[in-house]
């Protein structure tokens, strides 16, 4: 499935410190982040980042704190100025926009949800949700009506006149989400949007987001440090380390073929049976008899079917048609934690 690219990040560099432009040469000549800091006192935040974000999909960017992911997302709407590079949205380079163009871009094309909600504490919920519209000078009546739809949609009906401080964290982030959706921007930038919430609420919010996405088909750039979250909602994942993209791919690709020790460490603790799908490990050459398993089923459920039937093989189907087979042995190997590859250093910590 080939989809058009909505946001293309090309050769993006960001260096904090004195004379960032002069530091780029050092970086391109392969100086490490540590050396750059020790020798020149500059911090390398983003190092030659290239990501194509498909339209109407969820692109997750994942990394530990300090990996540059929050810096990266702030480049898309230019809350942070890059040192060099391009960000192409709908054929236009965001980094080349004038102040007025950029303001229009922020008002109509890309809206943002923040880790710590960043609601306006002195405004009521309805005024917070309509903030983006107020900034656009949409008439008050119309802004209130449009906001009301989103307040209803995220399940906050009845809280319109409350202040943010009167709401729980999860509810506040619903306000943040509604505020971002109310401008009808096509791009949604979510900076660790659910990281500050406790696990149950987080899962809840992920469901809210996925539910909305099924309907709205926004282009979502989602930042997280939580791999479970990334695997759950991401259609594509890019893993960032020290400002460098170490691996890009679908959740299946990343779990089955981690690019290096960093990624391996990342995926070590996840429940692989709940992430991997039958289609990732099936043998499409051999058709076998056995219980039928849908190709998108996760291994955990498939194993259940096999053990119930008491067999070692199953047929993989797509829309009722047999397209291959899968063996119990392969499934258990896939679920077992991969052996660590020898010879790779783990200096990233």
């Amino acid at each position: 499935m080939v989809s058009e690219t909505k946001v293309a990040i090309k050769n993006l560099y960001k260096i904090f410190g004195k004379d960032p432009a002069g530091m780029i040469n050092h970086v391109q000549n392969g100086i490490s982040k540590k050396e750059l800091l020790e020798k020149y006192g500059s911090v390398l935040a983003l190092n030659d980042v290239n990501i194509d974000i498909p339209a109407r999909g969820i692109q997750v960017i994942m990394g530990l704190s300090g990996s540059g992911k929050s810096t990266l997302i702030r480049h898309v709407n230019r809350l942070i100025e890059p040192t060099s590079g391009e960000i192409i949205v709908d054929g236009q380079n965001v980094l080349g926009m004038s102040k007025t163009e950029l303001r229009e871009f922020r008002r109509h094309t890309a809206s943002m949800v923040f880790q710590r909600f960043a609601l306006l504490p002195h405004h009521t919920i309805v005024d917070n949700v309509s903030y983006g519209l107020t900034v656009q000078k949409v008439p008050k009546q119309e802004a209130a009506e449009r906001s009301q739809q989103w307040i209803d949609r995220v399940g906050l009906t009845g809280y319109e006149k409350h202040f943010p401080s009167q709401l729980s964290g999860g509810m506040q982030q619903r306000v943040g989400l509604a505020r971002a959706l109310a401008t009808d921007a096509e791009i949604l930038l979510m900076d660790e949007a659910f990281s500050a919430l406790d696990p149950l609420i987080r899962t809840d919010m992920q469901d809210v987001l996925l539910g909305l996405q099924e309907e709205l088909h926004k282009t979502i750039l989602f930042i997280t440090h939580d791999l479970d979250e990334a695997l759950r909602i991401g259609e594509n994942i890019a893993i960032l380390r020290d400002g460098f993209v170490v691996q890009k791919g679908t959740p299946q690709e990343i779990v089955l073929n981690p690019a290096d020790k960093y990624v391996t460490d990342f995926i070590k603790d996840i429940n692989r049976g709940r992430v991997l799908r039958v289609s990732s490990i099936m043998d499409s050459k051999k058709l076998k008899n056995g219980p039928e398993i849908e190709r998108n089923m996760v291994l955990e459920d498939a194993l259940q079917i096999l053990s119930k039937a008491g067999v070692f093989e199953a047929t993989v189907t797509e829309g009722g048609k047999s397209i291959g087979s899968v063996e119990l042995g392969k499934m258990t190997t896939a679920i077992a934690r991969p052996r660590e590859k020898a010879g790779q250093s783990d200096t990233y910590r």
């Binding site: 922020r106 008002r107 960043a118 504490p121 900034v135 656009q136 401080s165």
Partner: protein
């Protein structure tokens, strides 16, 4: 080793010449520009005189009613309103009504002046670190320099009277409002500001929609401090011809009239407490949105 025992000192003659030079230059300056500067402040003088007359000539029940209403608007507390009415009745009973009205006039006008000059300076300061580093030492000097020292040039320039008194009060009272406006705006949550920016808010939309509203509690603490400091200057201002409660206090000091000094001093204290309670509870109510339903 004489330099070791005595600190190097300027020649007596040279020092005298230097002082003379400064004195003469400033005298020349005030002779040349004094009239112009006085004319510049004329509107302020007219306003102050008009306001003072208004307060003195208005019937006392009306004044007390207006002040009680202001107290209610500010504090929403019957206790404060009752205290205010009582204080003014007692002040009137002890024969200090007229002086109190004069003091009230100069305090109100100087506070208004400080707010209208101080808040814009504070806003500008919050925008630029360079301006902040330039203005801060000036504010430090204004707050710490003994008031008598700057009374000299002010009197030389503008003579004795209400306007120099007003300026002396403002020099002393303006620093807190400038500082706290600057601080308040700088303390506004960076993330909230970033959010406003991410939705395409313009410079003015950020300043008037986010920064100033969120800085208001701090700005109001500054207004409160400014009023308090203006009241503290009442006695000193009376030395250069400002009428009001300071004049009897001054007379009491030079003649050892204990009762007179005490009564007028207590009247100033009463004014200070009333202003403080009203403006503080008003400032607190500005933060009402921060009150949480579940006590965070």
């Amino acid at each position: 080793m004489s330099w070791y025992e005595n600190i190097p000192t300027m020649e007596r003659q040279e020092l005298r010449d230097l002082k003379k030079f400064i004195d003469i230059s400033f005298k020349d300056f005030s002779r040349t520009y004094g009239d112009g500067i006085e004319t510049f402040f004329d509107p302020l003088l007219y306003f102050l005189v008009w306001f003072e007359k208004l307060l003195i000539n208005a019937p006392w029940p009306l004044i007390i009613l207006v002040i009680a209403i202001l107290a209610w608007i500010g504090s929403r507390s019957w206790l404060v309103v009752a205290g205010t009415i009582c204080s003014f009745l007692v002040i009137g009973y002890f024969g200090m009504w007229k002086d109190t009205m004069s003091t009230l006039a100069i305090i109100s006008v100087s506070t208004l002046l400080c707010i209208s000059v101080g808040i814009p300076i504070g806003i500008l300061m919050s925008r630029s670190d360079r301006l902040q580093s330039m203005v801060t030492p000036v504010l430090d000097v204004m707050q710490t320099i003994p008031s008598f020292v700057y009374l000299i040039p002010v009197v030389m320039l503008l003579g004795i009277g209400k306007v120099p008194g007003l300026i002396a009060v403002c020099i002393y009272a303006i620093p807190p409002i400038v500082r706290l406006t600057n601080l308040g705006i700088r303390l506004v949550d960076k993330e909230v500001l970033e959010a406003a920016e991410s939705f395409g808010a313009s410079y003015n939309q950020k300043l008037f929609g986010v920064q100033i509203p969120l800085a208001l509690p701090n700005i109001f603490a500054g207004v409160n401090q400014t009023i308090m400091m203006a009241l503290a200057m009442v006695v000193i201002a009376s030395m250069i011809g400002v009428k009001g409660l300071g004049v009897p206090v001054l007379r009491a000091v030079s003649n050892q009239y204990l009762a007179l000094g005490l009564l007028n001093g207590l009247a100033i204290v009463a004014l200070a407490i009333i202003f403080d309670r009203i403006s503080q509870s008003f400032g607190k109510r500005l933060q009402k949105h921060l009150e949480s339903a579940h006590g965070v």
